[in-house]
């Protein structure tokens, strides 16, 4: 791993939170209501939320936020749902978010299978669990009658995954009515408590459509085939060496096209994801990818006949997430890592591509923290989480402590 180990700063703010009787009440509430939190995870996971089709889950979550007594509960024009827990006015606005969408397309079976303390379902950890954890935070704060200096805006947002291209965050920070008031941003994303993301991975996503003349599979045999140019692109990309540090990656992710089994296809398309922690490597990889596409088209046009027309390729940039970073010395990062360490975890600073990218790219202090417990196989159909009570509650307590330190806890 190339993430940065951190030595917790032993911040007074975190110690003060954890020393308060109110914190003990909040912690006891997280533990006492853990079964309800697990039930909420199952409920939310089983409401499918494919990219660009988060509306049903958003409506359900809006009602949950309302039932939790937040103020100004609303849905914005991007589809984000949110509500305010008012502070005493002593601090600027803090946003605590989890994302509504999953990577899984419509039709994916999202029913939850339980084995002991393990829950299996697409999207269960990324990020359905976090949505339920935000509700657990609110109940714990209310049970302990905790007041904060800052207003806290709890958000269930759209468009975090894939082609959503962070549109929920772009709207919140660029257009929505809170856009100029957000002073700190915390996204709760996936279970792992140790990785505190302070850097946003930059990514570029392409959809390349390979076009050709098409024709009868037998009668027109020998004509150029856009499928071959697509295949050559995938294969040459898969042979590309990228640095492990700064971590840089590529993925040939989604593919489609063709007319029928007995036709040379007219069109084949391919979606590719390119990422790097640093802009220079991302630029270098992007240039190489576009050259691979061009070379693959050239090769096919010289391998088979172009008498009915050549193969062409049209790469379209469908996603462009800015890289960004939060200063490790900022309060947001210090409070988060200290709170996490104080709960027995081993925090390290990491880079990832999350809702925090937008805040980071705007220079607003932002971190990604975990929702607690454990989990694995995110973005695969075998995704799972473990909801065993002790590590789950301890993780939630760590996250809530970080939020309280950042938002400023009023003395009892």
């Amino acid at each position: 791993m190339n993430d940065i180990s951190v030595t917790p700063a032993k911040e007074a703010a975190v110690a003060a939170v954890m020393a308060s009787p109110a914190y003990q009440t909040a912690l006891a509430t997280l533990a006492a209501q853990h079964d309800r939190t697990v039930a909420d995870i199952v409920t939310l996971t089983e409401i499918a939320a494919p990219p660009f089709a988060e509306a049903t889950r958003a409506s359900a979550y809006l009602e949950m936020l309302r039932a939790h007594g937040l103020a100004e509960v609303e849905q914005d024009d991007a589809g984000n749902v949110m509500g305010l827990r008012r502070g005493t006015g002593g601090g600027p606005l803090v946003v605590v978010a989890a994302h509504l969408d999953t990577v899984f397309p419509a039709g994916t079976d999202v029913s939850v299978r339980r084995e002991g303390t393990k829950l299996f379902a697409p999207g269960v950890g990324d990020d359905s669990r976090s949505l339920a954890v935000l509700l657990a935070y609110i109940r714990a704060l209310d049970a302990a009658a905790i007041r904060t200096h800052s207003d806290i805006l709890f958000v269930g947002d759209v468009g975090e995954e894939g082609l959503g291209d962070l549109r929920g965050m772009r709207y919140l920070f660029g257009t929505g009515r809170y856009k100029d008031r957000i002073a700190a941003f915390i996204t709760v994303d996936s279970p792992d408590m140790d990785a505190v993301a302070v850097g946003g991975i930059g990514s570029k996503r392409y959809r390349v459509t390979f076009h050709g003349p098409g024709g009868h599979s037998f009668g027109a045999f020998g004509l150029v085939n856009p499928m071959v140019a697509m295949a050559q692109t995938v294969l040459e990309l898969s042979r590309t060496t990228v640095p492990a540090d700064p971590k840089t990656t590529y993925c040939a992710s989604v593919v489609g096209g063709g007319t029928s089994v007995n036709s040379i296809p007219n069109d084949v398309w391919l979606e590719v994801d390119l990422r790097s922690k640093v802009p220079f490597q991302l630029d270098r990889l992007e240039k190489r990818f576009l050259r691979i596409v061009d070379d693959a088209v050239q090769a096919e046009n010289h391998a088979r006949s172009v008498r009915e027309g050549p193969v062409t390729a049209e790469p379209v940039l469908i996603g462009n997430r800015p890289a960004g970073a939060t200063d490790p010395a900022s309060e947001v990062v210090r409070y988060a890592t200290d709170a996490i360490a104080a709960h027995g975890f081993a925090p390290h600073l990491s880079f990832s591509s999350t809702d925090a990218n937008i805040a980071m790219s705007l220079g607003i202090p932002a971190v990604k923290i975990g929702s607690g417990g454990t989990g694995g196989r995110g973005h695969s159909l075998e995704e799972w989480i473990d909801v065993a009570a002790e590590p789950s509650v301890r993780g939630m307590a760590a996250g809530l402590t970080a939020v309280l330190a950042i938002a400023g806890m009023e003395p009892a």
Copy 2:
């Protein structure tokens, strides 16, 4: 070309047909009603008939057959529509068929664009034109009051293209109520009058599903990707040398799969079409293809990490058309080539993969003839036909003469 040139046999039957006053009346009817035939082509082409979704066009064609006064008009359980033009009982049953289905998926724009005498639309020549030509034959026979020895069963059939795998013909010859009575089979398929298909190309179609563990595009970078095994399969197949004679071909035709742009896919599938005029070459190509799939999976499992599981491939045979041939010396072939030559065309015997494959594989004399006029770019979105009157009518007259010679024309 490796098709066989033929010297017309100057059959008495063809000469007798063409010398009759009734033939002159039929020919004049084809010419006089050509505009109606063109209108029927447009009407039928604009009723979408994707594979396995021919029902709407089938219903329309059933009504057209009924309106043309055929007897026992019906739809069988496979979806074929048909009607009988009764003969005098002096000959066995002759089937004249055209296929209802096109290769184009639901949602393809099938509206016809006309430029002069050219009509552009997916499926216009393959095989919508032939459906209209069968109706023109019937009107011409009726206008000339022509009687035949044989009953003629006119059929608009399903499942000729792609994954339809000739299911309409399999039903007609294997299950339907005429199955043991068919003595000769003529399919009218695509415009070209010169190529008379007397051999059925054998084909095998595979759908290969490549499965892998999937995962996050960035977090799980380095895991095996089934997309790469698919790509390697396409690429290695595209490098395979196949004989030009006996003509043997392959086509990587349709592809799909993937979860989202930021996920390593769990599943990617590929459909491939393999064909040859001779079983030996088809077997050889099939074995090579399956080896390529296996090698591609092996290579991917040694190029990236299998710690979350390997890539596997599951090839499923989704189409298997038997090769077959009609003896060039048979009456069906002699009459067809003689009728075509007598109308100013230059017939040659060819191999193709059509509805006639099933009859040929059962030893029933069968030919594929053209619908008349010219056309091109079949199976592509740029498909076109030319309906200029003279060559179109001459082509239809040739086809009708072949049918009359085969079915036995009664003297006036």
